[in-house]
């Protein structure tokens, strides 16, 4: 009687346990999938941010800015993105998201600085260009005027020299 009663009690408990395990496995699967998706999305965003930051740095460099500091920070961001990719590959999704987010923050900062630096360098370059152009124009004009005066003086000296020349008649020239 006692054994039968125990069996009746055990059956629902067993069923409940199996049901709970099954439910848990079902609920865990979406969590796993969403964690993986979140990591992939964060990595994709960080990758995009890093590319845009690099393009901004490249533009700053093309106008003559010193980008050594920005390149060093891009390397830090690149290291974080590589770590995020590796963490994602081995299934450490939370670490991947964290590293990717850190990378995005760093890359955004670099991009802002690169844009500011480019603006500053362009403004400075414009002033330098006009200064160079003024020096070129003034210098060339002064030089040409000086050359003109030297040429005038030389022409006069040349004429005087010609006038001072004596006529020489060769005695042994046959007519």
């Amino acid at each position: 009687m006692k054994g039968l009663c125990g069996r009746f009690v055990k059956a629902p408990v067993l069923f409940l346990l199996v049901f709970m395990i099954f439910s848990l496995s079902l609920t865990r699967l979406p969590f796993y999938v969403s964690a993986s998706d979140e990591a992939s999305s964060a990595i994709g965003e960080a990758d995009n941010d890093l590319r845009r930051a690099f393009e901004a740095v490249l533009e700053a460099e093309s106008v003559g800015a010193n980008v050594s500091g920005l390149i060093a920070r891009l390397n830090e961001a690149g290291e974080l993105l590589a770590e995020a990719e590796i963490a994602d590959k081995i299934g450490s999704f939370s670490e991947a998201v964290s590293k990717a987010e850190q990378c995005s923050v760093l890359a955004d900062g670099v991009m802002d600085e690169a844009i500011t630096l480019k603006g500053e360098v362009l403004a400075g370059a414009q002033i330098a260009f006009w200064q160079d152009l003024t020096v070129t124009a003034m210098g060339s004009a002064v030089f040409l005027v000086a050359m003109f005066f030297v040429w005038g003086w030389f022409k006069r000296a040349y004429a005087k020299k010609l006038l001072r020349m004596k006529l020489e008649v060769a005695s042994d020239v046959e007519a």
Partner: protein, 199 residues
């Protein structure tokens, strides 16, 4: 004695040279001379930062160290990715002639930015574990690179000619193309031949 017309030509030439000299700073800003050949370098050095003492006969649970380096001569800063891959003798390497990459998935990666004329170098520490030998085959279960363990499960057959179970750890260089906004295989790769000798 030169004629006056000849002196005039000399003066005109000196005047033109002088004007060009005065204009050279401005011309330098406007005119850009063509740069030299554009290329990148990829290298692997031994543990002493020299091209010697490379690991060759390797075993399980032993740490090995090499240095991976990249040099930039592209005329501007460049964004590179170095993919670290692991293969046995039957798997394909990148094809330098066709400019195609190895189809193997990368295990580890370095992302780096290098200014023109500068170089970058990083340590690559690796070790093997879960190595087993059966018959004329060797199986490498795991490969740890810079502290990250990857399950590789890669087998190699006994190489009769060279007497060993040969694997290759190799690196591919990829570069970011700003125009296409994508990474492209830069047709540079280097590798280390490794002979698995002990468990």
């Amino acid at each position: 004695m030169l004629k006056l017309e000849d002196y005039r030509t000399v003066f005109a030439s000196v005047g033109l040279i002088g004007v060009l000299l005065f204009a050279s700073p401005t011309l330098g800003l406007v005119l850009h001379l063509p740069s030299g050949e554009k290329f990148s370098e990829l290298w692997v050095l031994g543990p002493g930062h020299m091209a010697e003492d490379y690991p060759f006969n390797v075993g399980a649970d032993v740490n090995y160290l090499v240095y991976v380096g990249v040099g930039n001569h592209m005329g501007c800063s460049a964004y590179y990715v170095v993919y670290v891959k692991f293969r046995n003798q039957s798997e394909s390497l990148p094809n330098a002639t066709a400019g195609t990459t190895s189809p193997l998935p990368p295990l580890f990666e370095f992302r780096l930015f290098v200014e023109d004329g500068k170089s970058w170098e990083a340590p690559l520490r690796f070790s093997f574990s879960n190595v087993s030998f059966f018959g004329d085959r060797c199986l490498v279960g795991s490969l740890m690179i810079n502290g990250v363990t990857f399950n590789v499960d890669k087998s190699a057959s006994w190489d009769v000619e060279n007497n060993g179970y040969y694997y290759q750890l190799f690196m591919e260089l990829w570069i970011y193309n700003v125009e296409s906004r994508a990474f492209e295989f830069h047709n540079r790769f280097v590798g280390l031949w490794l002979n698995m000798t002990s468990v």
